[in-house]
Amino acid sequence: MLNRYPAWKNILVLLAVALGILYSVPNLYPDDEALQVTHESRELVQPDLDNITTALEAAQSRALSSELNDSGILLRFDTVEEQLRAKTAIEEALTDDFIVALNLAPTTPGWMQAIGAGKMNLGLDLQGGVHFLMEVDIEAAVTGRMEDNLSNVRSILRELRIRTRGLNMIDYSHIEVRFASANDRSRARSELIDNFPDLQFQNREAGDVFILDLRMTEDTQLQIQRDTLQANRTTLLNRVDALGVAEPTVQQQGSNRIVVELPGVQDPAQAIRILQRIATLEFHLEAALGAPRSSFETYDYVAPEGVFPVNVDNDVILQGDRISNVRPSLDQNGLPQVQISLDAQGGNQINRVTRDNVGRMMDILLIETRSRTNLVIDENGQEVEDVEFYEDRRLISHARINSALGRQFVITGLTQREAMDLSLLISSGSLAAPMTIVEQSVIGPTMGRENLEQGIRGVQIAAILVVVFMLFYYRVFGLAANVALIMNIVLIFAVLSSVLPATLTLPGIVGIVLTVGMAVDANVLIFTRIKEELRNGLPPQQAISAGYDRAFTTILDANLTTFLVAVVLFTIGTGPVKGFSVTLMIGIITSMFTAIVGTRALVNLIYGGRRDLRSLSIGILPIKPAGGKG
């Protein structure tokens, strides 16, 4: 018998080899350290580049190259130290509205980028990345909840027809309700106490006014703080996911801060833009005609037919944190709409207000918190940066209430585009509290580089040792296994850099190193099986065929089980666990291909066509055991 592969299998192997090499080669081009200079509001021009060049000359710093392109000015540098020094120099020379971001510039030739062959994304531990410190305005969250309570108290009392002499918010956690009689107050108290388990009730008299104080308990405030931080973290995670970062860190720091680390982000400015769209939502009624001037505020509403002013009532029906889900969809007639789901309390709140106000307009306000940096003179007469925060309130929806609303309702009469935009805006505002970026920086890649270099050296030495051992132990077959092993590494790199642009972290690298060790397992299984068959007296060609066939089930069973584990880890895990399971899955698939199909193609090429084959160069055969048929 002969061992020949059909042409298509040989072509498949060759094709995989060629593509694997092509798509892993970009990793051999080292990135340049770079600075990306942009401006907040305008495009950069040649004079800007000249300014920068002068500043660099003054600081005796030299860029490898500088170019003015669509996204700004890109400067390349030799070393990280040089890059950081240049950054300081440029920042001193330019005004504050320039953004100088640390970046890495690829050096791969243009045609490779054109066919989608790129470099692997490296994690924060391997290459550095963007780091943000966000501060969550917890007080705003508590205030928001209290304003919510205030509106609810008002409508409950109105329903019960208990007259008050006014409802006021004294501070962010304290509401007072004034009554004309003790009787009114005790009726209200007994009614409200069941509705607001989170509040502490206290009676107080001031002259002939009977006051009921409602205070939020410390425990509730702490609970809100925890919930808010958690909600903000989750929303940030979602937002970061939208950036396409594979292994982001979103970590709580202190009682009101969140750290966001984005490894491998090539455009920090873009990340800032997306993360800074930090917002909360409020649902209001449109002010009734003739309402007192102090009870509403006027906003511009941008409608397709033009901009017109809308008077929005000050009472908040609902806050964004009551929204559990929002998405654009189509109604039964195929018309675009936005579907909004609320939690139980939100459903009650909106129902209470809307059932009495069918026909009126409901408005949604998006409140975005932004920061701007001003230069101010401090007490020593020096210019210092001062970060100022301001609220940007925008009316994003103005729609008629067609019926009493409940936990699920839709906003209709939109174009598809508007539905998408509105849905995005609403979900961006479903954060529990506003956040501000208080600190942003790009982590230098020095430490990462060390990790990476050591990791690569580890892979190299390990590969050499394994290759030498296999060659020594399995001779010609060992050679085939070695070629397969190298192919396997090349394929893993190709898949990781181009097919599945995953972010490689340290655990990922060691995962690859591990496959180097384990990938030979399939070949060891096959070769020991061939040796057994030879010892059992099969002629070489049959032994090769039988060895591959019999080892196949074992290899398949072993790899499939491990693959299943990797799938489970991928589905359930996050961050490092996910990263590890991705490399594991890729490694299993590529190693099965190279170890079974790849080595078989080589072995067939070397031995397969020889009819007179008497022996194989596969190392020492095992000793035949005593007795038995063996």
């Binding site: 230098g444 020095t446 430490m447 190193v513 491990t562």
Partner: protein, 317 residues
């Protein structure tokens, strides 16, 4: 077939091996319960101190000075520019301060003062904060749930492909390997960080791989050798796969030792965990999984291919 067809009578030592395994697992569990694991900064909360230098900060120097001052676990990184650094430190559980934030503030001041004494450049303390663990309960919960689901799926898969008794064997071997590896980490007080966690996941894969290869051979032999006692069939299978088991373990260990010796500090934990895992995994695929299968009275009938026109099932496609 009276004469045994194997060189090493592995199953002859199955009782002492079982007793040894049980003792080591119990010691591991005991140590885990008593002293737990030495969690690294990834898993525990700590203090983050930000310092800014009047001139470029020398990271190595700062690291060395902090070590002298007794902060052995300090991690020093550049932060945004070459003049700013961030120092990460684990919380001191013995410190006598009321809150973590207070401890963070005190540590920040102490470090800034200590470094200033030993430096000519001006150092300013930008701030010090309490940092929560990077991977908190969330990951622990996910990890725990993930392990259970993974174990469940493995059991089902093996039960379908092999037989239920093999499922129990494989999962027992897996648990055995994980517990002992964790136990060794607990006993030696080595740091448990994200890399070690990745290593544990890799051990699952490795140990399973080993067990399946052995089980596969046992299944094949049960179908082929009709009049052999189950215990002998297992012994034959173990001998047949011994060469492969040793060579694969050897190449894997070759790789792991080169990572341990060359790969740098950050991968050491990973390498050590996996070296333990590979050694324990090799042992468990021989003694734990097979032992359980024998203990559950595996028979030839368990593994016959259900309907195959009565043909002898000696070759597998």
């Amino acid at each position: 077939m009276a004469a045994p067809q194997f060189k090493v009578n592995f199953m002859g030592y199955r009782k002492p091996a079982a007793i040894m395994s049980i003792i080591i697992v119990l010691i591991s569990l005991g140590s885990l319960a008593a002293s737990g694991l030495e969690f690294g900064l990834d898993f525990t909360s700590g203090t983050s101190v930000r310092l800014s230098f009047a001139e470029s900060a020398q990271l190595d120097e700062v690291g060395a000075q902090l070590e002298e001052a007794g902060y052995e676990d300090a991690v020093v990184v550049n932060f945004g520019s070459d003049r700013e650094i961030r120092v990460l430190l684990p919380l001191d559980p013995n410190a006598e301060v009321a809150t973590e934030a207070e401890q963070a503030a005190l540590t920040g001041e102490a470090i800034a003062a200590y470094l200033q004494e030993r430096s000519d450049t001006e150092i300013t303390l930008q701030g010090s904060d309490y940092v929560s663990a990077k991977v908190g309960e969330e990951l622990a919960e996910q990890g725990g749930l993930g392990m259970l689901v993974a174990l469940g799926i493995i059991m089902v898969y093996i039960a379908v492909r092999f037989q239920f008794k093999f499922s129990v064997g494989a999962v027992t071997a897996l648990a055995h390997d994980l517990i002992i590896t964790l136990g060794i980490f607990s006993l030696s007080g080595m740091e448990f960080n994200l890399n070690t966690l990745a290593a544990l996941l890799a051990i699952i894969g490795y140990s399973l791989n080993d067990t399946i290869v052995v089980s596969d051979r046992i299944r094949e032999n049960f179908r082929m050798l009709r009049k052999t006692e189950p215990i002998d069939t297992v012994n034959i299978s173990l001998n047949q796969t011994l060469g492969r088991t040793l060579i694969t373990s050897f190449t894997t260990l070759l790789v792991l030792f080169s990572i341990l010796l060359i790969g740098g500090e950050s991968t050491q934990g990973f390498a050590i965990a996996l070296i333990i895992g590979v050694i324990v995994g090799t042992y468990s695929s021989i003694y734990v999984a097979s032992n359980v299968i024998i203990l559950m009275n595996v028979t030839r009938e368990d593994l016959l291919i259900p309907v195959k026109e009565g043909a002898e099932a000696d070759s597998v496609p």
